[in-house]
Amino acid sequence: MANPLFQKSWSPYGVGAGIGMLSWFAFASADHPLGVTTAFENSAAQSARAVMPTIEHSNEYFAKKAAEGKPLKIGWEWMLVVGLFVGAFVSSKLSGDRESSIVPPLWRWRFGPSAFPRLVVAFLSGGLMMFGARLAQGCTSGHGISGTLQLAVSSWIFIIIAFTVGTITTFLLYGKEGARHV
């Protein structure tokens, strides 16, 4: 049997079970759920404070975090994001499943091959997505996996609305025809 580490894809059920067990590990070892966007918020707050020191007093965000006992530090969550990049890099290198194109085929079919519009839209949509994640205090990991597995009311509401809106947006962008070009 081929070494699974060199394979390009694993069963979604196997990967899902692995992520579920990784949640156990995160709760047991760090008393922390898997989540990605808090690290971005934390880095953004530290950067804002470095560029504009007065913001610490003018913006209630900083007092609120201090009151919650959550000082701005580079910590577990931040390293999780670094690890995410490293893990995906190693996995894709081992299997040769690398992708360096800028414009995905479906986007090319709908909006043309030009890289510039795709990158501008990627920047803006990435920003909107993160803005939304911080408004709701979680993303696909923090709410979608970690929150729903804890049976949190906030997380089930979030993921149902987010995925419904995502589906509607996708059909508005690509239509039914789109499915033939994925």
Binding site: L22, F85, A122, V153, I157
Partner: protein, 187 residues
């Protein structure tokens, strides 16, 4: 400035395994995520569904054994609603979610790299506008850090059992469909 070296190492290790799994699971790909929203490719739902069921069993065992605590985000309905709408639009247009964007960067995807820079910019906008956003976040009330079992006055094990049976039924119908197909093919 930094947490303890042990916690940094634990976070890094957990992240590496997470990124490895997301890449092998093919969920760090534009076509797989958008394919899910178009009902063409069910990889995302299968992966997330299994992760939630398996995770729920172990985490509730750990909490019952007093080896971990629950970390529930508050049900601030305004923030959840407005956030989920922005998030859904952003994720569909970008074609990656936050975690899979970072994993897609590891895979070499250039559009995801620009997306991650945009994500940082979005976080800066959120921090800067934080005082102005309070009426939106708190506008529809706060349900508190509440779980479905607490809301309904039921045992969490009932819900975990429900999740497990949902997956078991799904797997069972899938096997039966497979048998029918095999039967029709004369096997």
């Amino acid at each position: 400035m930094f947490e303890s070296p042990e916690r940094l190492a634990l976070g890094l290790l957990t992240g590496i395994v997470f990124g490895f799994l997301l890449q092998k699971g093919r969920v760090a790909k534009f076509e797989v995520i958008v394919g899910q929203f178009l009902f063409k490719d069910w990889t995302v739902v299968k992966t997330m569904g299994t992760a939630v069921v398996v995770g729920a069993i172990g985490v509730h065992v750990l909490v019952a054994a007093d080896m971990a605590s629950l970390h529930i985000r508050p049900a601030l309905f305004g923030g959840i609603l407005a956030g989920a709408v922005c998030f859904g639009i952003g994720m569909a247009v970008l074609g990656y979610c936050p975690g899979t964007s970072v994993a897609a960067c590891g895979e070499g995807r250039r559009d995801a790299m620009v997306g991650v820079i945009g994500m940082f910019a979005g976080a800066v906008v959120f921090i800067t506008a934080f005082p102005l956003l309070q009426p939106i976040i708190n506008g529809l009330g706060n349900g508190g850090t509440i779980t479905l079992p607490q809301l309904t006055g039921t045992s969490p094990w009932l819900w975990v059992a429900g999740l497990v049976s949902a997956i078991a039924i799904k797997a069972n119908t899938r096997n039966r469909e497979k048998l029918v197909v095999e039967f029709n093919n004369g096997n």
